[in-house]
Structures are given as structure tokens and as C-alpha cells.
């Protein structure tokens, strides 16, 4: 590919009337667009020289077809000049800062000079001269006699949006233009303006450029009627008034009428440029909808800048629903065959791949790994169809290009919105599969923040060799297991992976040969260790042994599992909960494998493997571990139903008693409060103290109830297993289901809102009791009373509102952060600079360490090295 031209810089400036005329291909004089035959009228707004939009026609100016011809400007000669709204404020400032007679800046030569020097210096340093320019205007406006011609300056009032009054006498744009023309170039520079590209008189329009038809295409409705663009409508208005103005002036109409028409012309030009100026009623379409002006086209999220220029549309992409497939590797993505047939990769035919290419072409578009198009050496693209595939295959020769279909092993980018961090787009290997959803391994859900409740994801196929290399080296899933946010794994086992692994490794699970082999069947591991022992003469293996088979040799690790309760004296290896995990030389000696071991965001084992054995090993481990876990959980059978929340009658009674006691205590607190016997906590009012104490009391009761329930739900309860292993849910969730839901809150307080002095009409006024303010005694299992249900809904609603507000706020924060920091880069000298070369940091992060290569933020794990060299394990 020839290296494309690079735009080096873009200069901004104002268009002078001469320039507008020069770039114009025609003067527009008639407001009509098409004649009766449907042909565009010459010198009308749809003049064929302005470009083409109708298919089949050619541009009269450049001869290009629609799509090729960029369009060409025309112009309207305005009968009288009008002010450009965007510059209205600046026009006033300049009017007040220059002499009404000689047009010079109202500052003495020496002051002017010093300002000019400062501006030049700042410009040279690449800094803004805003402050200086501001003070120039501030000083100049105060002057009442021109220092050059001694003319007395008059006060100029500005009336929104575009009229200027000098001593009760209205200044017409023509007068303003005359004055501006007298300002010398040198004085213009002091206003911070570019005298060559932005003369102030150019802010008063005498000629209006007419944008090409390509920017305002008309659409043909079903009825065959043409519907014009808003801009065209606006231009029609301008031309009409312009004509009327001219006729009236030539007819010698009275000044009053001329002025009215002038104002009307100003209005139309203003609303052509910006239809949201304050003080101007927006121009409307016949239907009453405000017209979309030039400014509105640029502005805002869907505007030209953010919507069309910063956000690009692409080809070679696909989108569909995602669903899980635990048998895929984490670095794979299952692509529906329909999608694979549509997406293509261009192959350059060379003598070396000629045969391969021929085979693709021969298979055609309907026979999966086939090809959809060939591009001949002369650049003609030919669609492959069943009728011509054999023929094309024979014709194929080096120099041609073949668009072959996506097949297994291709690299594609996979993405889920919102793309909040770089792990939201990762490269996967294609695995073409039947059915219509994208399939991913559930272990890669955390970085995408995906679930399978109907989420859709996008897939992009990189088209060049460079792009594919980059995707493979930098964006592969395994390269992104470690998050640059904190230097730990962000991909890891979730839900059933963790439950399964936990059930396999906790305590002593014994497995016979068949089971053991079956569990390992889907993993890379093909051999079993020596049996742990014999039972009835048959060998058996432990779950820990099976898991150990997946660990790389030489891995040493000691940590505490999720269920560790931080006992005062740690029994270490003897822990009866199996919460002390020891791995020696790749053998799990004790402890259960849970979320802290292989989970996303936490996975200790995973983390160690990546950092010591590399990402490929880590990917293999994850693939094997998740498969093993899924097999295990399928073997055991793992379910949760409503009867898993059952607790014995005596426990229910205990819970009932606890809650009754708590209510009693709350009652006593209220009595004490009403009797004035309650002491307030330091820095709190009496009311607040009471609230806090009640909350405390009820919280305590809920916890006690929860403890009792937890006590009766043993480790054979699936929900308990999930909570303890960290797979899903918490003991709190469980106790809410089984024992007591507890206090509902809005804004961190008990529920206070509702009727005057009470939350619901069911309560007495001023009732401070537990149930009057949202304490839910029931459990979810038992069911909530209507009143409890209502309070619960209040708490729930707050949560929903909170989430909605939060997403918008944090989205905006993210946008601002990205915008502020996106240009920063580490240079070869190790400094962090922004694009202008401004140094932001001399060494990145004070130590030059990449957080994604660090060990949870630390540059080097010194202890690990010492342990490796000397064998000394250091703690504390």
C-alpha cells in the first residue's frame, strides 16, 4: 500500500468576501429549486454545479459521480451587510475599543506596543493570550477621547442579539463595517486576532457562502415529492428577503421599510447560522419543528464533531447475543457459522498460497470455509457465486486478492459496551460453531462485565497483517489477564467454577479411578498421580490431588482462604475449616481452593502462575481449572430450592424471640427518650442519638437472627457453599431469605417520609417504633406483610435511582478524564509528556514501573526473590 498523505496542520480563519466569491462556482439568485420537469434551476439553490446527489448524474463542475464529488460552494450577494451572530459580542467589544472616527485602537502607542509584545511572547511560548486581550479591551473601553484624532467617543449599547445603539442612534451593519475597515492591521493584532486571516470587517457578512448540495441533500418521499433539507429552506428564506430588499430599495421605499427588511434579512442569516441564539425566536418548519441550523449540526453528542467525526462506523463487524460455553478456551470466541460466512479476510494471492486460495474460491460462498469475492489484478471485484466459482478458481493467479471467509483460528476483536477500560476490547481466536449466538467462556465475563441475560457483543475482523499482529501480541485475552488498574488478575473463575473447585478440594474428597479420569478428561492433563490410598483394595485419589495435577511444577504458595475467620491463634495446617492453603512444588497440601485462589479480581494461585510462569501457562491453567470445576459440579449435582431455606421450628422460635426482645428494647429506648432520660451522644442531638441507638439495636437483632439461621444451615446447603467459597451471594443474603430481612433504609436512615408525623396511615402520629419505620421482621421465605413490602419497595427504589444517577455521573467523569489525559505518553527518555512536549512527569509514577507488570502495585516482590534464593520465608 502506498503510504497515504498525512495532514500536517489545519489553520483556522475567517473567509473574506473575495475568498467566498472565489471559491464559489455560481451566484445564487433564485429561491426556486426545481422547475416543473423536476430539473434543478440554474443559479438556484440546487444548481447542478453545486454538486450531485441524484444517482446517475454527473457533477457539472468536477464531473464526479455522487459519492465522488465532494460538492462545491455557491454564494449569495447580500443586498445589505449583516452581522455574523457568532461574533456579535466581539463586534461590540471592538466597536467600543476603537475610535469612531479614525478607527484606531483607543490606547496610546506605548501601551499598545507593550501589550503587543506580551501577546507575541505568549504566542511564541504556545500559551493563551486570553488574559492580555481581556485587559486590552478593559483599558480601551474606558478611554473617552481618541489619543490620535481626539474625537470624543460615544457610549455604544448592545442589544441582544445583533443590534448596536450609539447614543440612541442605531448603528447599521454597513456603518460598523465602514468603521472596521479603518482599523489598521497593527491594532487588530492587539485584539489577539490574526490580521491576515481574520479582518474584523469580515465578521459583517456581505456575501453569504451557500453550502454545496451534498451537505443538504433533499430526500424523495414515497409519494415522489421532494423534501428539502432544513438548510435549503433557510437559504430560500434568505434569498427571498434579499430580493425583496433589493426591489424595495430600488423602488425607493421609505427608510422604515428598508430597516424592517434589513432586520428580517439579519434574522434569516442569524437563524441559518445558529437557531438557538437567546433573544431570537427560533425559525420553524411548517410543522412547527425548529429548523436545524449549521451550529446545531456541529454541536453535542450526535453533532458532527462527537457523533460523526470522533465516532467512526466500520465494516467487517458483527453483533449478536452472547451465551456461555465452558468448553471453549478463554481466548476463544464461538462465532455462528452465518456470521463466519459473511465476514471476510483479504488474502493476497502469491505463488506460495495459490493452491490454498484456489480451494477457498472453489468452495464458494455457501460452503463454509470458502470465499465471497475475488479482486483481479486490475482492481475489478468479482462476486463469487456457485455458478462461477470453479471458473474463477481456475483463473486465479498471483496478484489477485481473495476475500476468504472467517475460519477457526483467525484473530478477531471482541467488544462489549460500555467500553470503560481497555479490557472491554480483547482479541479472541475464532471457533466457528452452529447456532446463532457468540459463545464465550464465562471466565472472561468479568473484564467485559458481561452476563448472559440477553447481552449483545460486537466482533470486528482486523483486515491488515499489521492489525492482526498487533491484536495477537497486545490484545489477546491472556495478555490482559492482569489488569493495569491494580496489577492483579481480572479474569478468573466465577460462580460454578468456584463452587465446583471448592467442592472438589475442600476436606478429603475421595474419588475412584473412573471418576478421577473423567474429571480430568477435558483438561490437558492425561495422567494420574499415585493413588492417595486403597479402599477395599481399590485405589482412590483425593480432590486435592486431582487439582494439583493442573498446577505447574515448582509452585510454592501459602495463603488464607476466603472462609478464614482470622482466629486469634491460627492453627495453620491443622485448620479444621481447611482455610489455610499450602501449595508446595505444585501440590496442594492443605486448604480449599475458592474465590481467593482462582476468582477474578482476587485469584492468588492464578496471580502467582502468571507472574512466574507467564500468560500462556496461566491461560492453560484457567482453561483446565474451569473445565475441571464444571465437571466436578456436574458430578455432584448442585441446586438450590425454596426448601434449602428451611430452618427448624425451634430456630424459628429463637429468631422470633430475638426480634421480640429487640422490639422491646426499642420500646424502652423510646420511653426513655420521651421521659427525657436519654443522654445524647457527643456532637449529636437527642433525636439523632435515639435513631442511632434504635438502628443499632435492630441491626444487632438481625445479625443474631442471621447467626442462628446460619447455624442451622450446614455446609451441605448449596447457598452456604456458594457464600463461603465466594462463588455468589453472601451469608447476609441467605439470612435475609431464611431468618429476617431487617431494617429498610432510605438515605442511610430509617424510613421517615410519608404522611405528616408518620410513614403510613396505619400508624399513630409520632410512632417511633421499629415496625413504623421500616423494620422487616419477616424473611423472604416467610413472605412480607403488605406494610413491610411497601417499605422494602421504598428501599429498593432508592437503589434503582442511585444506579441510574451513578452511571450518568461516572460516565461523564470518565469522559472528562479521558479527554484530559489521552494525549499523555511515555517517551523514550522515560518522561511522560503531552503532545506539545510539555513534561508532566519526569519518571512515570516516580519509579517508572508499569502497574500491569507490577505485583499489586509493587515494582518487585523482593521477598519472593529472597525466598527463591535462600529459602527463607518472611512474614510481617
Amino acid at each position: 500500500m502506498a503510504s497515504p498523505k498525512r495532514i500536517k496542520k489545519i489553520k483556522f480563519g475567517l473567509l473574506s468576501p473575495q475568498e467566498i466569491r472565489k471559491m464559489s462556482v455560481t451566484k445564487i439568485i433564485t429561491a426556486d429549486t426545481y422547475d416543473d420537469d423536476g430539473y434543478p434551476i440554474e443559479m438556484g439553490l440546487m444548481d447542478p454545479r453545486l454538486g450531485v446527489i441524484d444517482p446517475g448524474l454527473r457533477c457539472r463542475t468536477c464531473g464526479g459521480r455522487p459519492g465522488e464529488c465532494p460538492g462545491h460552494f455557491g454564494h449569495i450577494e447580500l443586498v445589505a451587510p449583516v452581522v455574523h451572530v457568532g461574533f456579535a459580542k466581539l463586534v461590540r467589544k471592538i466597536l467600543r475599543a476603537t475610535c469612531r472616527k479614525c478607527g484606531r485602537l483607543l490606547l496610546e502607542e506605548s501601551i499598545k506596543k507593550s501589550y503587543l509584545d506580551q501577546i507575541k511572547l505568549l504566542n511564541k511560548l504556545g500559551q493563551t493570550s486570553d488574559e492580555i486581550v481581556k485587559s486590552v479591551f478593559r483599558d480601551a473601553i474606558k478611554v473617552s477621547f481618541c489619543p490620535y484624532c481626539e474625537e470624543t467617543q460615544r457610549d455604544i449599547k448592545f442589544e441582544q442579539p445583533t443590534s448596536y445603539v450609539e447614543d440612541g442612534h442605531k448603528l447599521m451593519p454597513a456603518d460598523i463595517r465602514d468603521r472596521f475597515e479603518r482599523i489598521p492591521d497593527e491594532d487588530i493584532e492587539v485584539f489577539g486576532m490574526d490580521s491576515k486571516n481574520a479582518r474584523p470587517e469580515w465578521m459583517i457578512l456581505r456575501v453569504l457562502p451557500v453550502p454545496p448540495v451534498t451537505t443538504r441533500p433533499s430526500i424523495t418521499l414515497e409519494s415522489g415529492q421532494r423534501s428539502e433539507d432544513d438548510l435549503t429552506h433557510k437559504l430560500v428564506d434568505v434569498i427571498r428577503i434579499n430580493q425583496r430588499f433589493q426591489e424595495n430599495r430600488e423602488a425607493g421605499a421609505p427608510q422604515l421599510i428598508i430597516e424592517d427588511l434589513w432586520e428580517l434579512l439579519q434574522y434569516h442569516v442569524t437563524t441559518f447560522l445558529d437557531n438557538e441564539v437567546s433573544g431570537v425566536p427560533p425559525a420553524r418548519h411548517r410543522s412547527g419543528r425548529p429548523l436545524k441550523s449549521l451550529s446545531q449540526r456541529l454541536k453535542g453528542k450526535e453533532g458532527r464533531f462527537r457523533g460523526s467525526l470522533s465516532g467512526k462506523r466500520v465494516n467487517f463487524s458483527a453483533r449478536t447475543v452472547i451465551s456461555p460455553d465452558p468448553n471453549l478456551s478463554i481466548s476463544e470466541v464461538g462465532v455462528p457459522i452465518e456470521v463466519a460466512k459473511e465476514l471476510t479476510i483479504t488474502m493476497n494471492v502469491t505463488p506460495r498460497n495459490l493452491e490454498e486460495c484456489k480451494e477457498y474460491v472453489r468452495r464458494g460462498p455457501n460452503n463454509h470455509p470458502g470465499a465471497n469475492y475475488v479482486k483481479r489484478a486490475d482492481g475489478r471485484r468479482v462476486k463469487i457465486i456457485d455458478e462461477n466459482r470453479e471458473e474463477l478458481a481456475e483463473l486465479l493467479e498471483p496478484g489477485w486478492k481473495v476475500d476468504r471467509q472467517l475460519k477457526d483460528g483467525d484473530i478477531v476483536l471482541f467488544n462489549r459496551q460500555p467500553s470503560l477500560h481497555r479490557m472491554s476490547i480483547m482479541a479472541h481466536e475464532v471457533k466457528v460453531m452452529p447456532y446463532k449466538t457468540f459463545r464465550i467462556n464465562p471466565a472472561v465475563c468479568p473484564p467485559y462485565n458481561a452476563d448472559f441475560d440477553g447481552d449483545e457483543m460486537n466482533l470486528h475482523v482486523p483486515q491488515t497483517e499489521e492489525a492482526r499482529a498487533e491484536a495477537k501480541i497486545l490484545m489477546k485475552v491472556e495478555e490482559n489477564i492482569l489488569s493495569p488498574r491494580f496489577g492483579g488478575p481480572i479474569i478468573g473463575g466465577i460462580h460454578d467454577h468456584i463452587s465446583g473447585m471448592f467442592l472438589l478440594t475442600r476436606g478429603k474428597v475421595t474419588l475412584n479411578k473412573n471418576t478421577a479420569l473423567e474429571l480430568l478428561k477435558k483438561s490437558d492433563v492425561k495422567d494420574l498421580p499415585k493413588p492417595a490410598g486403597y479402599e477395599n483394595g481399590k485405589p482412590y485419589w483425593t480432590g486435592k490431588q486431582i487439582f494439583s495435577q493442573l498446577l505447574p511444577k515448582g509452585l510454592d504458595l501459602t495463603y488464607r482462604a476466603k472462609m478464614c475467620e482470622n482466629c486469634e491463634i491460627c492453627k495453620r495446617e491443622e485448620c479444621e475449616k481447611d482455610a489455610y492453603v499450602v501449595i508446595r512444588d505444585g501440590k496442594l497440601l492443605c486448604g480449599a481452593v475458592d474465590e481467593v485462589a482462582i476468582g477474578a479480581f482476587a485469584g492468588q494461585i492464578l496471580d502467582r502462575i502468571i507472574k512466574e510462569y507467564g500468560v500462556v501457562e496461566a491461560r492453560k491453567f484457567l482453561d483446565n481449572a474451569t473445565r475441571l470445576a464444571i465437571r466436578m459440579i456436574m458430578r455432584i449435582g448442585f441446586s438450590f430450592g425454596i426448601d434449602d431455606e428451611d430452618i427448624p421450628r425451634e430456630a424459628q422460635e429463637q429468631i422470633h424471640d430475638i426480634i421480640m426482645n429487640a422490639e422491646d428494647r426499642v420500646k424502652r429506648l423510646i420511653e426513655a427518650y420521651e421521659a427525657g432520660e436519654l443522654d445524647s451522644l457527643p456532637g449529636r442531638t437527642l433525636d439523632e442519638t435515639l435513631e442511632m441507638k434504635i438502628m443499632q439495636e435492630l441491626g444487632k437483632a438481625r445479625n443474631q437472627a442471621g447467626d442462628i439461621a446460619g447455624h442451622h444451615l450446614g455446609m451441605d446447603n448449596s447457598a452456604v457453599v456458594m457464600a463461603i467459597s465466594g462463588a455468589r451471594g453472601s451469608m447476609l443474603n441467605l439470612t435475609q431469605m431464611a431468618a429476617c430481612v431487617g431494617q429498610q433504609s432510605v438515605r442511610g436512615e430509617r424510613i421517615q417520609r410519608g404522611y405528616s408525623e408518620r410513614t403510613l396511615p396505619h400508624f399513630d402520629e409520632g410512632d417511633l417504633g421499629a415496625d413504623a419505620h421500616g423494620f422487616v421482621k419477616s424473611s423472604y421465605k416467610k413472605g412480607l406483610s403488605p406494610i413491610e413490602f411497601f417499605f422494602h419497595a421504598m428501599g429498593g427504589r432508592e437503589g434503582l435511582v442511585d444506579t441510574a444517577v451513578r452511571t450518568s455521573q461516572s460516565g461523564y467523569l470518565q469522559r472528562r478524564l479521558i479527554n484530559a489525559l489521552q494525549d499523555l505518553e511515555v517517551k523514550y527518555d522515560g518522561t511522560v509528556r503531552e503532545t506539545r512536549g510539555l513534561i508532566v512527569q519526569f519518571v512515570y509514577g516516580d519509579d517508572g514501573v508499569d502497574p500491569s507488570k507490577s505485583d499489586y502495585g509493587r515494582a518487585v516482590n523482593v521477598r519472593r526473590i529472597i525466598q527463591n534464593v535462600t529459602g527463607e520465608v518472611m512474614e510481617g
Binding site: P4, R6, I7, K8, K9, I10, G13, L14, F87, L90, D194, K196, N197, A198, L298, F305, R306, L420, R422, R485, F486, G554, D585, P682, R806, Q809, S810, G811, Q814, R816, L817, I818, A820, L821, D823, L824, E825, V826, K827, Y828, V832, E834, T835, V840, Q841, Y844, G845, D847, V849, D850, P851, K853, G857, A859, V860, V862, I866, N868, V869, G871
Partner: protein
């Protein structure tokens, strides 16, 4: 046969079967093992940890190879191309264990190698990574504005609102707060601390008495409390004088009763006066609205609602080095831009940590440096960093599109197309990361 014996002998001494076998296969016998070094074993294909374990069990009690002295460690550490934090860690940990010189050298060599491996690569787009790393957890943060952190009595803004506040570089945070630690002489004396607190806390007339509006007579009455006055060491006359000075109204004192009459006796005037009286500071530092004293690690610490850094630093008895405030702009004014930078880092880190979100310090450092790199605290956003960017297109694409374009035309700005947004807009590769380098064909 001999091999099998050795394996058994080794296993008897507590060596794992696999290790034992590898050792024998490498030709080791018991006697040979006794004379071997750890390195020899490693060469035979055993992990270093294991080798050490084997040596402990079999090798002759590792001959006390000359231990390195702390001085040698220090001298070796000097001049290593490592950041201070690692040097410190090495210094601390190496002195706790016994080492031979070869081991020391090996450790240092491995550390330097690991450090080199962990360094950022040139062309890395660290800015975007930092922005994402801070922005992404934002979605997981709570909106709950008020939270009682640390001190139950003082509520402070936390979570996402606080993070936004820090990055917005607001002049005054929504809940300014200070933590004041005191000098050694008084820090453990409860009475003295209490006294100091009374001195610092701003007292309004309402703090020392009860206010009542007498509508019949069109006057305001304040019943001063003797206890409150003596606690704060204010004389009733002083209160009267202060109100007179501040507001220029007629104040008369009758015992402990303050009677204030507005100049014009209108109801509105009266109510306005009450509001004004509320705002009068009789004593203490303006802005310090409330103080809570807490005992922490054997010393009394003052937590204040409101912040007035400059004045607090000048207070007698306050340990100026250990005073903290959460008002970043105030820190910039009083202590300078470097202090403000550190404060942005610590405040942002604290906010994130409190939410249980782990974010690497380096990302926040970069944001803080970006906000403070030209000497004043700039906001992340339109009125700060993003608004001062060199590129017109980039600014236009961010916010207030039209105004930026109009201004660019007037000023004759030139967009050099060096940043990310500009190049995306014109459709060319960006000059960051892999866009900043090109593959070169090395012939031959």
C-alpha cells in the same frame, strides 16, 4: 541397586520421593550430597526452594558461609539502578536474615532484573490507562453522599461525589474537614486539649445562649448561658460589643440578657438580623464550625467540621506537621503546589480505598501531576486541563463546540494535529503506542 538404596535413604531423611529420584539420577550419593551446594542441586533440576530443603535435611549443617555484614549490604545497595522504595525494602529485609555474599549478589541481580522487566515501555499511552483505571471503578462506587468515616460525629462526602469533587478542583469541598494533631506537651492531657478546642472552635452568639424573637417589641433577645460563656472564656460584654461592631445595631445588656433592636422595626429586618447574628464569630477561628475530640493511639486528636488551614497552623499547641485538611485548594494556597499534588493523591486514594476499590497509585499520581503541572490546581474538564489543550479540534470535540471554532477563526489558530482526537477526526493514525512506531525491514 545402589540407586534404590540412596533413594530410600533419602526418603527416610524426609526428602520427597520425586526429588530423591531426580537427585539419584543426577548421580548424587549421600556423601556427595553432603558436600554439594544448593546451586549444584539446582543444576540437577530441582527447584531452589526444594534444594534448600534437601540441604537442610542432608547436607552437612550448611557451613556457616561467611555472613555478610550490614555495611556490605548497604554499600552494595548504593548505586543500584533501583527506585528508593525497593532499596528500602531490600535494606529492611536483607538485614533480617543471614546471607552469604553470593546469595546477596544473586538477590540483588535478580531484583535489578525484575525491576527492569517491570518498567514501562516507551510509547505506552499511560494517560488513557490512568483515566480508564480511575473512571472504570466509578461505576461501582456508591452515590451515598454522607458517610460517617472515622469519626461517627462528623459526616463527610465520600464515594463518587467526593471523587468528582477532587478532580473538579472545587474551591471549597462540600464538607471541609480537618484533622488536627497536637504537640507532645498537651496531646495527652484531656483538659488542655479541651481548652484548646474551645479556643479554636468558632463560637456564634447562638452557641453561648438561646435566641428568642420578641415580635411584640420588635427585638431579639439572647439568654446567655453562664456555663457556655465561661467554657469559652467570653464575657457577656464582649458578646454585646462584638454584635454591635459587626452589625452596628443597638445592643443592650441586662445581666445575662442581650437585647438587640433592629434599626428599622420591620419583621423582615428582624429575621435578617437573626441570620446575621448567627454568622457572627465571637471567638475562635472562622470556618471551624465544630470540633470533636477523639482519643487515638494514646493521644487526643481534634476533628473539625470546616477548614481554616492557615490559621490552624499558627495556633499554639497544634503540631503543624501533622495537621490535615481535605480542602485541596487551601493546601495549594498555604503550602504550595507540591503539597496540593500530594493531597490530591492521598485524598483520591483514600476515597477509592474506602470504597474497597483497588487502584494503582501511579494512575492517580499521573492525574494529580496533570492537574498541577503548571503551578496551579486545574480542574479535569472544560475549565481546566481539557479546556487548555493546544488543539482546536480536540477542544471542539469535547464541549462547547461552536465557540471554540469561532474563537479559533478569529485568532487564526493552527491545529498541529499531534493529539489523539484531532487525528481521529481527520482520519489518520494517532501518534501514540503502536501508532508512534513503524516496522522497519531489516534486510539480509
Amino acid at each position: 541397586m545402589a540407586k534404590k538404596d540412596t533413594v530410600e535413604a533419602l526418603m527416610k531423611r524426609g526428602v520427597g520421593s520425586k526429588t530423591a529420584e531426580t537427585l539419584c539420577n543426577a548421580g548424587f550419593t549421600l556423601s556427595k550430597l553432603r558436600n554439594a551446594s544448593v546451586e549444584d542441586l539446582v543444576e540437577a533440576g530441582i527447584s531452589s526452594t526444594n534444594a534448600n530443603r534437601v540441604m537442610k535435611k542432608i547436607g552437612k549443617p550448611i557451613e556457616k558461609a561467611k555472613e555478610v555484614s550490614p555495611e556490605l549490604i548497604d554499600s552494595k545497595l548504593r548505586g543500584l539502578p533501583l527506585p528508593p522504595s525497593i532499596i528500602d525494602e531490600l535494606q529492611r529485609d536483607l538485614k533480617r536474615i543471614k546471607l552469604t555474599e553470593t546469595q546477596l549478589d544473586k538477590i540483588l541481580q535478580m531484583t535489578v532484573a525484575a525491576y527492569e522487566k517491570a518498567k514501562v515501555e516507551p510509547c505506552e499511552a499511560v494517560g488513557i490507562v490512568a483515566a480508564q483505571s480511575i473512571g472504570e471503578p466509578g461505576t461501582q462506587m456508591t452515590m451515598r453522599t454522607f458517610h460517617y468515616a472515622g469519626v461517627a460525629e462528623i459526616s463527610i462526602t465520600l464515594g463518587l461525589p467526593r471523587l468528582i469533587e477532587i478532580l473538579d478542583a472545587r474551591r471549597v469541598p462540600s464538607t471541609p474537614m480537618m484533622t488536627i494533631r497536637l504537640e507532645d506537651e498537651i496531646k495527652s492531657d484531656r483538659d488542655k486539649v479541651r481548652k484548646l478546642a474551645w479556643e479554636i472552635e468558632a463560637a456564634s452568639p447562638l452557641d453561648v445562649g438561646d435566641l428568642a424573637i420578641d415580635l411584640a417589641e420588635m427585638r431579639i433577645m439572647i439568654d446567655l448561658s453562664e456555663k457556655a460563656l465561661s467554657q469559652r472564656k467570653i464575657a457577656p460584654e464582649e458578646v454585646a460589643q462584638r454584635i454591635r461592631d459587626e452589625m452596628g445595631v443597638d445592643v443592650s445588656l441586662d445581666g445575662l440578657k442581650l437585647i438587640i433592636r433592629p434599626e428599622q422595626s420591620s419583621y423582615r429586618e428582624l429575621l435578617q438580623l437573626v441570620e446575621k447574628i448567627r454568622g457572627v464569630t465571637l471567638k475562635g477561628i472562622e470556618g471551624i464550625r465544630r470540633i470533636v475530640i477523639r482519643k487515638e493511639d494514646g493521644e487526643y486528636v481534634l476533628y473539625t467540621e470546616g477548614s481554616a488551614l492557615k490559621k490552624i497552623l499558627q495556633c499554639k499547641g497544634v503540631d503543624p506537621i501533622r495537621v490535615k485538611t481535605n480542602n485541596i485548594n487551601e493546601i495549594a494556597d498555604v503550602l504550595g503546589i507540591e503539597a496540593a499534588r500530594n493531597s490530591i493523591i492521598s485524598e483520591a486514594m483514600e476515597t477509592l480505598r474506602e470504597q474497597g476499590l483497588e487502584v494503582d497509585m501511579r494512575h492517580i499520581m499521573l492525574v494529580a501531576d496533570m492537574m498541577t503541572c503548571d503551578g496551579e490546581v486545574k480542574q479535569i474538564g472544560r475549565h481546566g486541563v481539557a479546556g487548555e489543550k493546544a488543539s482546536v479540534l480536540s477542544r471542539a470535540a469535547f464541549e462547547v463546540t461552536v465557540n471554540h471554532l469561532l474563537e479559533a477563526a478569529i485568532r487564526g489558530y493552527v491545529d498541529e494535529l499531534s493529539g489523539v482526537t484531532e487525528n481521529v477526526i481527520v482520519g489518520q493514525p494517532i501518534q501514540l503506542g503502536t501508532g508512534d512506531v513503524e516496522p522497519v525491514y531489516r534486510g539480509g
